[in-house]
């Protein structure tokens, strides 16, 4: 194994068919950067100047997140206006001030530009801190990771697809199928004239696109966070609620209120708790440490939010079709 110094200064290797480990190369480069910085190979002041060049046009978050509202008041005071007011109560005072402003404008503008740039950078960092805190808050709120495991059990069939399709009828607008897998239900709904798309943290985008389907590799919570209000005509949830923590479930119900149009439909396919017991209990569910809700509990929870449910029972699973005003 050649030393790092050999890698950088040694003879050029002949081209070889042996695959190079890029992660190893990156680690070596990172270690060499640390070593050179420690050795002072580049003057520290010069390195800072060069680093500023790098950062000058580097993007940073533009202010999303819970703290962004509070930061707006900070933002609003950052810009230092070089146009000094010239109004005056004195005769000819305004003209004198205006002349002085004009004479000194180049200097004042230079100073204010530097100050604004510096303050903008500080504000940018504050926004980044705010975004990070927001993320941490969200994690604390949900206690666990953002993507509950998708739960499936052996022996479950797709008997409920037809029911789901019929309940959605000829709704206009997009229909989300969460945990869509290979997109079979999305394809069925599209074939029936609906505009369906799917998300699944496990699915392959490429296979979906090859079938002409709009499938995304995303978890349900992550996805719904980025859906605008009243965008969806229907949401089909299958296998995504069983491993949800209580806080995640509450979040989901609020999100459904927000993203569905007034006539929107929730199609909730849940596994019966009794089909998830003993050896049939999926490992992911056991690891999540939660107990899935019974279908009747779901109906009650949905009713609390003004949704009326129709329940269709299967052997292992239940379909709950919920809408407003039925």
């Amino acid at each position: 194994m050649p030393s790092l110094r050999d890698c950088f200064e040694g003879p050029v290797d002949p081209v070889s068919s042996q695959e190079i480990d890029l992660d190893q190369v990156r680690r070596e480069i990172a270690a060499e950067v640390v070593a050179r910085r420690a050795s002072g190979s580049v003057d520290a002041i010069e390195e800072r100047r060069l680093q500023r060049l790098f950062e000058q046009y580097s993007p940073h978050a533009g202010g999303i997140g819970a703290l962004s509202d509070a930061l707006r008041s900070v933002d609003a005071t950052i810009f230092i206006d070089p146009d000094v007011p010239v109004t005056s109560s004195q005769l000819a005072g305004a003209a004198v001030k205006k002349a002085l402003r004009k004479a000194n404008y180049w200097y004042v503008r230079w100073i204010t530009t530097q100050a604004t740039k510096a303050l903008s950078n500080i504000a940018g960092v504050l926004h980044q801190v705010g975004t990070e805190i927001d993320r941490i808050n969200r994690r604390l709120d949900l206690v666990s990771n953002d993507t509950p495991a998708v739960i499936k059990v052996a022996g479950a069939t797709t008997w409920w697809h037809e029911q789901a399709r019929m309940s959605l009828g000829e709704r206009r607008g997009r229909v989300l199928v969460a945990a869509c897998g290979d997109g079979a239900l999305v394809a069925e709904l599209n074939a029936a004239g609906l505009d369906a798309y799917g998300t699944d943290p496990r699915s392959s985008l490429v296979s979906g696109e090859a079938k002409g389907l709009d499938l995304r590799r995303e978890g349900l919570i992550e996805h719904l966070e980025a859906v605008a209000d009243a965008m969806l005509a229907g949401v089909v949830l299958t296998g995504v609620t069983e491993a949800m923590l209580p806080a995640q479930r509450t979040w989901l119900l609020r999100a459904l209120d927000r993203v569905l149009i007034a006539q929107g439909l929730v199609v909730l396919h849940v596994l019966k708790p009794e089909s998830l017991r003993g050896d049939a209990r999926p490992i992911a569910l056991e690891l999540a440490g939660v107990e899935p809700l019974r279908p009747s509990t779901w109906v009650a929870v949905l009713a609390e939010r003004g949704l009326t449910s129709v329940v269709v029972d299967g052997d292992l699973d239940t379909l709950i079709i919920a809408s407003r005003g039925q």
């Binding site: 580049v42 000058q56 709009d214 719904l224």
Partner: protein, 399 residues
């Protein structure tokens, strides 16, 4: 299918960027798939002034019908100050502030926007999101509208006016996953029909000439950077970094910078700034380079990185540029730098390791062939447009 593109400038004089991408898609839709394409654009070429320099009216370019309209205003003198103000807190600006920024950014062509009302295309594609004709046109067309944002993490993305623009799109076509991940949480576009498409690359069209000789530095090794020479594109940083590198590593190595010059650089014996070169020269110069460097942090796709791989060159990219980092991570075709020292060490490592460079170039070339070869890409785009047309104009449903 008849497709209309709406873009602020269009033509052979426009190199790269979103508008160049629009032209590539338009011409391939015509040439490869036989679709009919109209382009609605202005008479401008220069993206700083947006001055009308071409004649208004209808012309044909490579099978594409180009409809040019004059602008009532280009880049306004107030733009610089306005831009500085919105940079500070873009998401808290009022709609009026944002509208004023869009107008000052230019070009303002109400005749173009009006003409869209009579457009007879099956689908209208707006490219990119930032400009007046997109902001005002996308809410007015009666046909399904596809938005190609070409977005970077820039302050303007957070202006409230763009929520309406993205909301009015029936389909969104992203360049990269990084662009999609950037846009979705800001503009809440997750439920909109969308595709991560990217751009197609051509085949290397050089003629095997010595790149160093073309640059006037025959016999010297060189690294190359292709793209607009502009402070915001990282060109000044690359120039300064390279000069510092040469202080630390004296020798014959040179830097070639190819592309239109927005920000002139001081003359230096180790740096060659060519300005715009023709395609054949570009490919020969890139093919003759030791490697290619993309210093920009603000790319929405970076065709030049892909073209370097087509020319079998490894690349170095800016570590905070999501799309170019996505390319190198997905392909294994390059390395990134995050400051001067990592630039120095990475460049040194790549220059001293031919095997590493060769493998990276091969991986990059395979990545391009798999994802961005035109025949594959244009069919994916066609299928996406067809799906948007099939669903019709849905934007009004949520108002």
């Amino acid at each position: 299918m008849k497709i209309a593109f709406v873009t602020p400038r269009y033509g052979e004089q426009v190199m790269g960027g979103a508008e160049g991408a629009a032209r590539s898609l338009a011409e391939h839709l015509v040439a490869d798939l036989g679709h009919e394409v109209d382009v609605f654009t202005t008479c401008a070429i220069d993206h700083l002034s947006w001055a009308d320099v071409l004649d208004p009216g209808v012309s044909t370019l490579n099978g594409v019908t180009v409809r040019r309209y004059t602008s009532s205003a280009g880049r306004d003198a107030s733009f610089s100050d306005l831009d500085a103000r919105i940079r500070v807190a873009p998401s808290s600006r009022t709609l009026d502030d944002a509208a004023a920024w869009v107008r000052a950014n230019g070009p303002v062509s109400d005749s173009l926007v009006e003409a869209l009302g009579e457009c007879d295309a099956d689908v209208v594609a707006f490219y990119p999101y930032l400009f007046y004709m997109t902001v005002h046109g996308i809410t007015q067309v009666s046909q399904p509208a596809v938005l190609h944002p070409a977005a970077h993490d820039e302050p303007s993305l957070y202006l409230p006016i763009f929520r309406r623009v993205f909301d009015a799109a029936d389909g969104i076509c992203f360049h990269t996953e990084a662009e999609r991940a950037l846009v979705e949480p800001v503009l809440h576009t997750a439920a909109t029909n969308q595709i991560v498409l990217g751009l197609g690359t051509g085949h290397a069209s050089g003629s095997g000439r010595d790149g160093a000789a073309l640059l006037g530095i025959a016999g010297r090794p060189y690294v190359v950077s292709v793209g607009r020479v502009d402070e915001q594109k990282g060109s000044t940083m690359l120039y300064e970094y390279f000069i510092e590198y040469k202080k630390q590593h004296p020798g014959p190595l040179a830097l070639a910078m190819l592309g239109p010059v927005s920000r002139p650089l001081r003359d230096h014996r180790d740096v060659v700034v060519t300005g715009i070169v023709d395609e054949a020269d570009k490919w020969d110069i890139v093919a003759g380079a030791e490697l290619a460097i993309s210093p920009s942090a603000m790319e929405s796709f970076s065709l030049v990185v892909l073209e370097a791989w087509v020319a079998k060159r490894a690349v170095m990219v800016n570590a905070v540029c999501g799309p170019t980092v996505e390319h190198i991570e997905a392909s294994g075709g390059g390395l990134s730098f995050s400051g001067y020292l990592s630039f120095e060490v990475t460049l040194e490592r790549l220059l001293s390791d031919t095997r590493l460079r060769t493998q990276m170039a091969e991986r990059g070339a395979a990545y391009v062939a798999k994802r961005y070869d035109w025949p594959v890409l244009i069919r994916r785009y066609e299928a996406f447009l067809e799906s948007v047309v099939a669903q019709g104009r849905r934007a009004d449903l949520r108002r």
